[in-house]
């Protein structure tokens, strides 16, 4: 550490370095981030980590309590619950990434258009978002499932469309604030085109709220998708999707409560992880919340 410039600026500057620094100081973000990283690792390595095949059971070993051979017991078909929960993480990550990705792409595009173009385009897009948001909670997802049918792909669409208005609103709000700032005005005065202004100035500077929303919405998507599966309207058995596992296990609640409790605990833990991360990120990234 002999370099005086380094000593004077102990941490790197710039968006990512600043962010990392603030995030690490925030215990919620660290705790949530740890859960999220572990969850993604489990999803990636589920086939290696799982002691048994998640879909094959031994009928002689039905509804066993947790033991040395089956750490989390077995379900109504003698399948290893641990292996199923681990494989369920894979399905969950797929749904989350696809649904949030879809919502982010569509929502951000609509939010940018509404905020940047303004006038009737803004009115049209935002009224459309109001209509989507008029179907409260899980109803919009249910309507989409009613029209398209059940299954993984439709769950992704249903859970994704549900979130489009959230992303559109966040991006629009951010663009509206940024649009009139001096650095954007300056870029325009220097002759930068709309395309450059949107992609070089507006979008990069909206990253903070987008990242926070993405983390929080990963939690929402999981609750919506597993809720649909729990109702029997989402991912269908024998898939080890957590909501579907829970739905099956309801019939055995009294004799073998662990079969229902474990997938629910997995959902709660991952949702909590993303909520903690999103909350922590908001505290670290949102300048208005800094005191």
């Amino acid at each position: 550490m002999s370099d005086p410039a380094r000593a004077a600026a102990p941490r790197g500057s710039g968006f990512w370095a600043d962010t990392l620094h603030r995030v690490v100081r925030n215990w919620a973000a660290v705790a949530g981030g740890t859960v999220v990283v572990l969850f993604i690792a489990v999803a990636l390595f589920a086939p290696v980590l799982s002691p048994y095949d998640p879909l094959k059971g031994r009928l002689g070993e039905r509804l066993r309590a947790p033991s040395g051979a089956h750490w989390l017991g077995t379900d109504e078909l003698g399948r290893d619950v641990l292996s199923r929960v681990l494989h369920g993480a894979r399905i969950t990550v797929q749904i989350q990434l696809a649904a949030v990705g879809l919502a982010l792409a569509v929502g951000a595009a609509l939010g940018l258009a509404a905020g940047y173009i303004g006038r009737w385009v803004d009115q049209l897009i935002m009224r459309l978002m109001d209509i989507l948001m008029a179907f409260p909670g899980i109803f919009l997802a249910l309507a989409i499932i009613a029209a398209l049918g059940t299954g993984l792909g439709n769950v992704i669409i249903a859970a994704g469309i549900f979130l489009v208005p959230q992303f559109a609103r966040v991006v629009r709000a951010s663009v509206l604030t940024l649009k009139d700032m001096e650095f954007v005005q300056a870029a325009r005065a220097l002759g930068q085109g709309d395309f450059a202004i949107v992609f070089r100035y507006l979008l990069p500077n909206s990253l903070a709220p987008i990242i926070v929303q993405t983390s929080l919405r990963m939690a929402t998507v999981l609750l919506t998708a597993s809720g649909l599966s729990f109702l029997g309207l989402g991912v269908q058995p024998p898939s080890p999707e957590w909501g579907a596992m829970l739905s099956n296990a309801r019939s055995y609640m009294i004799t073998a409560p662990h079969v229902a409790m474990i997938p629910g605990l997995a959902i709660a833990l991952v949702v909590l992880g993303f909520n903690l991360l999103g909350d922590g990120l908001r505290d670290s990234l949102d300048p208005r919340l800094r005191e």
Binding site: F135, L142, A146, G232, L246, G264, A268
Partner: protein
Amino acid sequence: MIAYITRRLLLIAPVLLGVSIGSFALLQLVPGDPAMILAGQEATEEVLTRIRHEHGLDQPVPVQFLVYLRNAVRGNLGISIQSRQPVATLIAQRFPFTLRLAFLAILVSAALGVVAGIVAATRRNSMLDLAALLGSLVGISLPIFWLGLLMMLVFSVRLQWFPAGGSGTATHLVLPALVLGASSSAVIARMTRASMLEVLRQDYVRTARAKGLRERIVIYRHALKNAMIPILTVFGLEFGYNLGGAVLTETVFSLPGLGRLIVEGIFARDYPVVQGAMLVVATTFVLVNLLTDIAYAFFDPRIRYE
């Protein structure tokens, strides 16, 4: 105030129109011939022609929509494919139950959330504050259906305090209302805390304290009243969220509400029921939000002039 209400009413008109287009479009989005969906797969061409004529499916789509809208406004939401009863009758039987459940849940969340929020705000950065913060994060993270099963296992199966499902008496609603209210109370606790902290920084609170008023009076009479105003809007949103959560809660506790009606309707491909129920839920939600916005403007005059 009247100008504000008029403006808000004008704003919801296009939303309600869009909602009705949305629920009308549901049947159009279903792959396949709507007439066959209404009549069943094995319907003869004769029956299909009759169904098309009866339901106006031989008309252009915009005309179909106008007919749908006219009927809906008159309270005619079509006939259920499964039970052959008017959809409006089915909804009238089931919706009051869901409304009551959602309302009880809001009461639960108001009681729990506001108290936790005040405690957290007045004892900022204490262990209680941290506990409230953690508790509310856990509250919004628990899947409703899992919390429901857990409560049922503990309070119905083990302790036998409450019935495990079904409806009829008030005790049947205790667990469902608690389960449904849990996540809303988390949201309301966080809002209350933030809003209280904001208000406690204001000059008039300092003045109240400087006058020598007791802390209890400062908090409850001066601060809380003002802090509650922004929380009002959250109640509206949470009420809608509870209508959604009721779908899951009703399934867990086998309750005869609108949520079950929709889920059963989706399973049975009873599209008129699904369409009608969606329309009613969305309209209710829009109206509840309108009411909370008006209440907000009533309590906080600044809003009216925005």
